[in-house]
Each structure stands twice: as structure tokens, then as C-alpha cells.
């Protein structure tokens, strides 16, 4: 094989030069499909990271019926405090809540009441701190079962919606990546097929003088691999740069959003994109070679 490596390398370069536009199209489709794949992976990683950070929020908000008197409210509070797994319960009275809102709106308590029509529409609310994040859901349910509590809110609400969204995104992303992946494989296979066709005389003679099938196939296989690899490398670079840019943007302007910056994930995705490109290239070559080089 050592004697042949020079020949194989030359032929690979030659055949890529023969159809530069088709080669470009193959590379670009591989690149686009893998770019989408790369960004989807990072988006999903961030979404699940976000979901996790919300899931681990240890707070439950419980809203009390407005008809309850302050004594009844205190009674409910002590009931919650007695539940297992509860760390502390803080009461945010409707007056405090109104004051908080007033502060953010830039007015005082007296005129905000008049602003909202003379009566305070807000309910009293308990902020329940939980010792173990895994108990949040169960505790929220039992708190909600108490008389006088008409609504509980906790991280899970948001997390559920986020998960529903990421589920959708996963399918759409999968579909788009698959569509572009198929297009890339088809383009590469057309590319290789055209090169097989333009070299059919050479191949005929190679077979005649006893070149082994693998020797004849190698340049085409390598060509497909190279096209895929270039596409994958470009995708990895673009995804890397783009993600870095987005990370910087989010960290400076949306500081509350946690962003995944995982070196290992970064490397895994890059290697994955390269391998993905090579796989598409190999697949494309194999499809076209099977038909042409049977005997």
C-alpha cells in the first residue's frame, strides 16, 4: 500500500479539482447540516442547564385566599412549618407585596392603593424554603392541599414548559439535520459518481491489469471523506466562534441567564462534527461506488 499512497493522494486532489462547484456544494451542505446540529446541541445543553438550575430552586410560593383573616393566615403558616422537609416559611403580606410593586413603579403606599382603586388586590403569600430540592414537587402539592391556599408556584412550572419546548426543538432540529444530512450524502455521492464516470476508461484499464477493487475505490472513498471532513471542520469552526460570540453577548446583557461553558462538551461537539462530516462523506462515496465498481 505504501507504493500506492502517492497515487491515491494525487488522484484525490485531481478529482476534487475536476468538479470544483460540485465539491463546494457538497462541502457547504455538509457544513450547514452540521452547523445546525452543533447549535442545536449547544442550545439543548443550555436549555437543560437552565431547567436544572430552576429545578434546584428551593422556594415555593403559596398564595392565600384574600378572604382569610390574619389569624387564619398565621394558622396556615404554622401548618406549613410543621411539614417535613420545610426549612423556613416567610410571610409576605399583601401590604408588603403592594409596597414592593409600588417601589418598582416609583410611588408610595398611600397613592398606589388609590391608584389600584382603593383596595389592595394582592393576596398574602408564603415563601417556603425547602431543605431538599427533590421534595419540592411533593411539598408544593401538600401545601396546595391546605385550606386557604389557592395557588402554588415553583420552578417546576417553568421547567415543564421549557422541557416541552426543548422536546419540540429536539424533533425539529433532528428533522432539519436529517434533511440536510441526506442532501449532503446525495451531493457527495453525485460528486463521487461524476468522478468515477470521468475516469471510467482509467478504471476499466485498472481492472484489466489487475488492480484490486480496494485500490480502485480508495481515491474515491478518500475524496468523499475529505469533502465531508472539510465540511465538518468548517462547521466546527463556525459553531465554535458563533457560540463564543453568543456567550459573550448573553453574559454582558442577559446576566441572569446561566450559559454553559463546558470545555469537554466543546471538544466533544467539535470532534463529533468532524466525525459526522467524515461519516457523511464515506456514506456518499460508498453509495455511488457500490453501483459502479461491482465486479
Amino acid at each position: 500500500m505504501l507504493n500506492s499512497s502517492g497515487y491515491i493522494f494525487r488522484e484525490t486532489i485531481n478529482s476534487m479539482r475536476r468538479n470544483p462547484w460540485l465539491s463546494l456544494a457538497s462541502v457547504v451542505t455538509v457544513m450547514v447540516s452540521l452547523m445546525i446540529l452543533g447549535y442545536s446541541i449547544f442550545f439543548l445543553a443550555n436549555a437543560s442547564n437552565l431547567a436544572k438550575s430552576f429545578e434546584s430552586e428551593l422556594e415555593i410560593g403559596a398564595f392565600v385566599e384574600t378572604s382569610f383573616t390574619p389569624e387564619e393566615v398565621q394558622d396556615v403558616k404554622s401548618q406549613i412549618e410543621q411539614m417535613q422537609g420545610v426549612d423556613s416559611v416567610t410571610l409576605v403580606t399583601k401590604e408588603q407585596a403592594l409596597e414592593d410593586i409600588g417601589k418598582t413603579l416609583g410611588s408610595t403606599q398611600s397613592n398606589i392603593i388609590s391608584d389600584v382603586g382603593g383596595t389592595n388586590p394582592l393576596p398574602d403569600m408564603f415563601t417556603v424554603k425547602v431543605t431538599n430540592p427533590q421534595n419540592v414537587v411533593a411539598l408544593a402539592d401538600s401545601v396546595k392541599a391546605l385550606p386557604g391556599i389557592y395557588k402554588v408556584r415553583y420552578g417546576q412550572d417553568f421547567v415543564d414548559q421549557l422541557l416541552k419546548f426543548t422536546q419540540w426543538l429536539r424533533w425539529i432540529g433532528f428533522g432539519v439535520v436529517a434533511a440536510f444530512g441526506v442532501a449532503a450524502v446525495v451531493l457527495i455521492s453525485i460528486n463521487v459518481k461524476m468522478n468515477v464516470f470521468s475516469r471510467r476508461r482509467e478504471i476499466q484499464i485498472m481492472k484489466l491489469v489487475g488492480a484490486s477493487n480496494s485500490f480502485i475505490r480508495w481515491p474515491f472513498l478518500i475524496e468523499g471523506l475529505a469533502l465531508g471532513l472539510v465540511g465538518g471542520a468548517l462547521a466546527a469552526v463556525i459553531v465554535g466562534i458563533g457560540y463564543n460570540w453568543i456567550t459573550v453577548y448573553v453574559q454582558t446583557s442577559l446576566t441572569f441567564l446561566p450559559v454553559v461553558q463546558n470545555e469537554v462538551l466543546f471538544r466533544q461537539v467539535s470532534v463529533g462534527l468532524l466525525l459526522g462530516g467524515m461519516a457523511m462523506g464515506a456514506l456518499g462515496s460508498i453509495f455511488s461506488l457500490q453501483k459502479f465498481l461491482r465486479a
Binding site: 497515487y7 485498472m206 491489469v209 489487475g210 477493487n213
Partner: protein
């Protein structure tokens, strides 16, 4: 060396190219295949280098069974068989040297050896002076010599030729026949399909006539045998 046993070949379109052919060709033989166009000569030639597989019957070369042979063994069979065509089948964008060297390059022979053997073979066919020329710069006879050089560079035990002189004028044809005669003298078995009456009659070699896919005649030191 070559043995065909009850060989029939029916192409997918239904054409019966060969019907129940039995043949034995010994080592070092020089055999002419004659007969009308479409009689099955080319099919018989193709069976010998396993371009085609018979529909029925067995083909053996050097006691290797070409029918039962696995695909991946075929390249190694081909390395022991040289093939010459009427249309030469040279690569137009390669020089004479490169065309001949190609046959060694693609089977993984080391570069230095490729060079030595190519020059030696070009000398043998009388084309050493033209090693840098491209096929379109050569005459038909010279092109056929390149084809012969490529076919024999691997020292094949068998050389098959499908109308090698079909595109050449009579004088040039005789040059090629002289070359094939020399190659045969060195021990290579030659099977040649041809319409060249004068050559067959003059050379006085074994003649096998194929008609309608059957062996119609098989004689040592035969003549062409068909009226013009």
C-alpha cells in the same frame, strides 16, 4: 492451460453467444479464433479474462476455476493475463511511458522497479524513443505497440487479443504480428480473435472457427477458411 467444458453463454437480452463449447488450449499455444461477426469470438475472449462468466459450464485457466472464483481473486487472475484490443484503450492524457507504467503502478509495484520494467518493455516493442509522446501523437501501429507493452509488462502466462490488427493497415498489422510471434516464442500462450485472412493463412497456427456460438472447426496449422 485453458480448458472450457460445456460452456454456454446467454446474455440477459436472450442472445445465445456460445452454445456448449468444449476447448483445450495448451501452454505456449498460438491460437486464432475466426468466424463471422457476432459468432461469439469476443464472448469467448471475454470469458478468458473473466470479463464475463458463462451461463453454464466451466472455464479453467491453469487449473483455476474462473466460474467459482471469488470477486476479490479476479484482480490476481488478471495480473497473469494480458489483454489487447482493437481500439487500444490507451489513456489519452498520459504519455507512452505513463500508459505502460500504469499497469504496474496500480498493482503496487515499487517506483524504481516500475521505471526499469517499463523501459525494458518499451524497448522490447520498439518504442523507447517515443516514451514521452502522447497517444494522439502516435500512428495506429505505434499505439497498438503501447497496448501490447502494457499487456505484457507483467509477464503474463496468457495473452488474449480481440482483433488487434482490425484498425491497422496490412504492413503495420504484420509488425504487430511479428511482435506477438516473438512474445509467443518466449513461452506466452496467445489467443487471438481476428478477421485478418492473410495473417491466419500465412502464420499456419491452430485455427478455431466459431459459428453461431459453436466450435465449427478446430485444426492445427489451419487456414482462415472463409471466402472473401
Amino acid at each position: 492451460m485453458i480448458q472450457l467444458t460445456n460452456v454456454s453463454k446467454i446474455y440477459p437480452n436472450g442472445a445465445r453467444a456460445l452454445v456448449d463449447v468444449n476447448l483445450k488450449i495448451g501452454k505456449g499455444n498460438f491460437v486464432f479464433l475466426v468466424g463471422p461477426s457476432g459468432a461469439g469470438k469476443s464472448t469467448l475472449i471475454k470469458l478468458l479474462y473473466r470479463e464475463e462468466i458463462p451461463t453454464r459450464g466451466q472455464v479453467q485457466i491453469n487449473s483455476k476455476n474462473l466460474v467459482r472464483m471469488r470477486e476479490r481473486e479476479v484482480p490476481y487472475l488478471r495480473r497473469s493475463i494480458g489483454v489487447i484490443f482493437q481500439d487500444f484503450k490507451l489513456l489519452p492524457n498520459k504519455t507512452v511511458f505513463e500508459n505502460v507504467a500504469f499497469a504496474l503502478e496500480v498493482i503496487g509495484v515499487a517506483k524504481r522497479e516500475v521505471r526499469n520494467r517499463t523501459l525494458l518493455t518499451l524497448e522490447l516493442v520498439g518504442l523507447k524513443a517515443k516514451e514521452r509522446a502522447y497517444p494522439h501523437e502516435l500512428s495506429g501501429g505505434e499505439q497498438q505497440r503501447v497496448c501490447v507493452a502494457r499487456a505484457i509488462i507483467n509477464n503474463p502466462a496468457l495473452l488474449v487479443a480481440d482483433e488487434p490488427t482490425g484498425n491497422l493497415d496490412p504492413d503495420t498489422a504484420w509488425d504487430i504480428m511479428d511482435l506477438l510471434y516473438d512474445i509467443n516464442k518466449r513461452g506466452t500462450t496467445i489467443v487471438m480473435a481476428t478477421h485478418a485472412r492473410a495473417i491466419v493463412n500465412k502464420m499456419q497456427k491452430r485455427v478455431i472457427a466459431i459459428e453461431n456460438g459453436r466450435v465449427a472447426r478446430d485444426e492445427e496449422k489451419g487456414g482462415y477458411g472463409y471466402d472473401a
